[in-house]
Homo-oligomer: 625 residues x 2
């Protein structure tokens, strides 16, 4: 960052077909860093409460962070945020790849999209200029088809895209935004918001290297990472996130048949090793990253899978695999490919399919509902078919495209009790009964059930590298996974701050930079004499902004809940008899409120907001009790 | 610190004439660091609420911190704590010199003194051993006489002492503990507690260098400090803290005639330059410190001043000088010498004398009260005489030895309105009307009115080195001195955490190590992979422990107050018309409570305590509202 740089934000008004550039007030970047925090403050400042998430008044923000585009692995990401059509709450998701770095190289730190285009449009951004262009010829195309057309007609295959597929166009409430065909800003339905604006694609090309305060120190950090990646992240490269399938299965933590089991007889078939030894053809990467955790798979029959869509993460394998009782790896990869081609969040898609399977099993779906397709656990063909129908809103897919909360509401109380969502967002592929703190995180997360900010139970519950990593936070003792006491709440509080920091830097969690190196990298990039204190406070600030947004939208303690399924135990296996105690969860929730400086209704106090330099937020909130 | 080291604490039971050594539980030092935080947790754990501060059940703790004794300037200090006989609240004070380092070299991190000796005793500590010895021959002696006797009879002039003078023996409520004759643990009456235990002196000799994890890095830090001290702390060496006299006077911030004025016609006479150019004969130092901010003065007549007692700090010059309307530097130095010889806190002493002067002026003192001495502002002789009478509890001195709160209560409501104390401790020599945040700090400080933890208004209210120093805390903008809004409260919150950190490390604030170097020094010393986050959390922890102690003793929001004098303005001068608005102060106080995670009654919430790893404290407190 050059000294005195305050950022360049591209404003796009699709209704007026107008773009302009603005520089945020001095201090904005040091206060918010970018990404999630920057997005959250835009949403709080610029949206009126009650804005229709799919109406033209919603804004859609694409944001990089201060580290984006520096030549160190982990820096290629970007965040996408808006009020979520899935939850009505703060919506945001981050994606890897190259789009974020390219946007920065094109001279912009963020794009704020306003209004709705009268007809399908795409935004072309190159080296400080931006243009709203017609996308009538792209509308209806898959991400792959659409990107190919753009690359051909613009004559530059290096153009990076963030786009929606047909699912976003059809306003599937968990449609995602796809970068470069296989990196998804998956959660909270940002693709539907993009679709509601008739915006198919943001295509970006930039030629200007990102300027940093201390190029030598930044380069040295990149070198250090390359030199140590084999030691620190070899398993991640070898097996990707799929590497965890069998370990979770052993511990009864592999969500199976709609979370009614934690072990799956087909776990081996879905494992990272099986993938590596069968259909894996390459490992993919993101900008500047030596980790190469991404999968590239290919197959011919019975499912033709195009390698250009990459390959499945663990979440995809579990959501479309074990959760649906499907052990056919190729079918799961095909469904994952469809999600990338149509622009669907694989987690919400898988949970929606599994929800339909359980509803079908319980006889809650009429023939009219199913449109002839009766999905049953283990039916790979039905699973793949449903993914396509969801994307196209056909038959049962149209119901499921609303998400399980709304689908269950239509099917009646019998269905609501097994609709696995929090705040309307489907539960990801981590088992709260294996990690109680994760359950607390699901309940409290401002974006509804999500896993990225809730892995504290995995990292800090035993001695070892995870605990060593957080000792600089003052977390000196491990806390058992099946504990929901104050020490666990503290772990969660610190972790959620750290994660919101990473999501504001929009820096990857899989890149093994410890807290000290991360702080040094921010200093070297920006020239700020910063500290872990200042950075974690941005994380806390971000989390409080998200909470404030939700409070203003009417969310309260009753929304900080878990699906009842997690309050009863499995009959057998390593977790037999283990369930989350709702009373203990309630106590932990209240402890968290106090820890965060929120009142009994979960409303941040004015004093705490002032401590986080968020005095401007208090007047937007109801009085605290 | 050797790996696995958990500390060595010397327990002393004076009643049983027994000493023993214990090792605190693993993690104690990383959680509390030493000094103030270590003391606070001892007081909370081991004192019953309502313990008589001057009774045998009070404990008196001498504590070093993890940095004490390392060969870097600032590391020679130690803290002394107990329930305060002046305030009934958390009592603690830190002293410089060599005693702390020597105690550590003798193999102990802290001493906890229990009970009361049947007859005067002193404690001798040498190289891991300790002995309670008779001090009948020392009782009644000044600190200088007593130390000389000890040095002679033990045959080792390198023995370091922490001792009381006659004032401590007489239980003057603001008697102090004196290290090496001229470094005072001045405030909150720790000398009276020592006196109440019949403990005259702790004499220490140690021969074992303090072990550190990375001697090279620690030595390098010491070298850096020596190399840069001229650049960073030249004024402090040249003029000492007395350097601020004239600057404060110019801004109407030199407390004069009992805070009824802020400018003093005798300011030049009391200035650091005048001292340097007249009676200064040397500059003193503390262990390993190249700053040499301490003064050494000497005079023959009319006041004979012995250089062995050092020389006055700014607080002493103002409290015994301008506050009493006395411009005779030699008289002020003499009074300061007497405070060191008798073991009196110069601040509380000066305020008590000035209180008597105002009471006398108002005709509130009867002849019986004054014992023939009618103190008037500007009367240097009366001021010096009163210091001696306070120490010996003679005549009016006996009344003043109780502190101004108790003295005013005896003199009646007319006197209470000008008794300048908070929570029973006399206000130090900084003008809240010049720095509104300082007033907030006076009101909130757990030890009653005190200045060390409340200088945020001086440091962060303008652009410059002070602000640069705290930018790593995320304080990016200066806040005007005459502001009590949320940004000011935030400054105070962060500063008070930082200061409580320094007081737990027992590291000197005058040594120009920035936050990053301080963190590195802790890492190099301990071998911990720590961070500024972890360290500042110790500061917050310490502050919350102190608050919890006070809450348990019945202190509440009504005690977080300011004397009314600061709510009205001076008639003339740069601050004419400027006063603290009590309503604004009340709002700031409530903002602070929220920021700290305290309820409306100022009681820390269980959640916030859990966040600070202080879950054990909650059951000691009343339920939060």
């Amino acid at each position: 960052m050059p000294p005195g740089y305050t950022g360049k934000v591209l404003r796009v008004d699709l209704a007026q077909r107008r773009t302009w550039t603005e520089e945020p007030p001095a201090g904005t970047y040091r206060t918010y860093l970018g990404g999630r925090a920057l997005i959250a403050q835009y949403l709080l400042r610029e949206l009126r409460p009650g804005t229709d998430p799919l109406g033209p008044e919603n804004i859609l923000v694409f944001a990089t962070g201060v580290l984006t585009g520096v030549p160190v692995g982990g820096s290629g990401r970007n965040g996408v945020g808006a009020r979520s059509p899935l939850t009505g709450a703060f919506g945001v998701s981050e994606a890897g790849g190259y789009f974020g770095a390219e946007l920065k190289r094109a001279g912009f730190d963020a794009i704020v999209v306003h209004g709705k285009a009268a007809s399908p449009a795409y935004l072309y951004v190159e080296d400080g200029r931006a243009e709203i262009r017609d996308a009538g010829h792209l509308w209806g195309l898959t991400t792959g088809e659409s990107q190919e057309r753009l690359h051909q007609e613009l004559g530059d295959r290096a153009i990076r895209t963030a786009q929606i597929g047909p699912a976003g166009e059809k306003l599937v409430r968990y449609a995602c935004v796809i970068n470069d065909l296989h990196h998804a800003a998956g959660r909270t339905g940002m693709g539907a918001v993009m679709g509601s604006k008739n915006l198919k694609t943001i295509a970006v090309r930039g030629h200007k290297p990102v300027e940093v305060a201390d190029p030598g120190a930044v380069a040295e950090m990149g070198r250090w990472l390359r030199d140590n990646v084999d030691k620190l992240a070899r398993a991640m490269r070898d097996l990707g996130t799929a590497g965890v399938v069998t370990g979770l299965d052993r511990r009864s933590g592999l969500p199976t048949r709609h979370f009614r089991q934690g072990q799956f007889e087909g776990a081996q078939a879905l494992s990272g090793r099986t993938m590596r030894d069968t259909i894996l053809v390459d490992r993919g990467s993101c900008f500047a990253c030596p980790v190469r955790c991404k999968r590239v798979v290919q197959a011919q029959e019975p499912f033709v899978i195009d390698r250009k869509y990459g390959g499945p993460e663990y979440e995809t394998l579990a959501a479309l695999g074990s959760l649906c009782g499907v052990s056919d790896l190729a079918a799961v990869c095909k469904a994952g490919e469809l999600c990338n081609a149509y622009g669907l969040d694989t987690i919400s898609t898988g949970v929606s399919v599994a929800f339909a399977m359980e509803a079908s099993e319980r006889g809650l779906l009429s023939h009219d509902d199913t449109d002839g397709l009766e999905p049953r656990f283990g039916d790979a063909g039905a699973m793949v078919a449903l993914v396509e129908r969801i994307a196209r809103r056909q038959g049962l897919g149209d119901l499921l495209a609303e998400g399980v909360a709304r689908a269950a509401a239509r099917l009646g109380p019998g269905a609501q009790e097994f609709a696995l969502h929090v705040k309307g967002q489907e539960v990801p592929m981590h088992e709260p009964r294996l990690k109680f703190g994760l359950g607390l995180g699901y309940a409290l997360s401002p974006t509804g059930a999500e896993h990225c900010n809730n892995m504290h139970d995995t990292m800090f519950t035993s001695e070892g590298p995870g605990l060593d990593e957080v000792k600089p936070l003052g977390i000196l003792e491990p806390v058992p996974a099946n504990d929901l006491g104050p020490a666990k709440v503290r772990l969660y509080y610190y972790y959620v701050s750290w994660r919101h920091l990473l999501d504001s830097l929009v820096f990857c969690d899989f890149v093994p930079l410890d807290l000290d190196r991360l702080t040094s990298l921010v200093s070297a990039t920006t020239g700020w004499d910063t500290s872990l204190w200042e950075l974690l406070k941005v994380g806390e600030r971000c989390h409080h902004l998200a909470r404030a947004f939700n409070v203003r939208e009417g969310f309260g303690p009753g929304d900080d809940r878990l699906p009842e399924r997690f309050f009863s135990a499995f009959d057998s296996g390593p977790l037999a008899g283990v369930a989350i105690d709702p009373a203990a969860l309630g106590v932990a929730k209240r402890t968290f409120y106090e820890m965060a400086g929120w009142d009994k209704n979960g409303v941040p106090t004015a004093g705490r907001l002032a401590e986080l330099n968020l005095g401007w937020v208090s007047p937007l909130l109801p009085p605290t009790q």
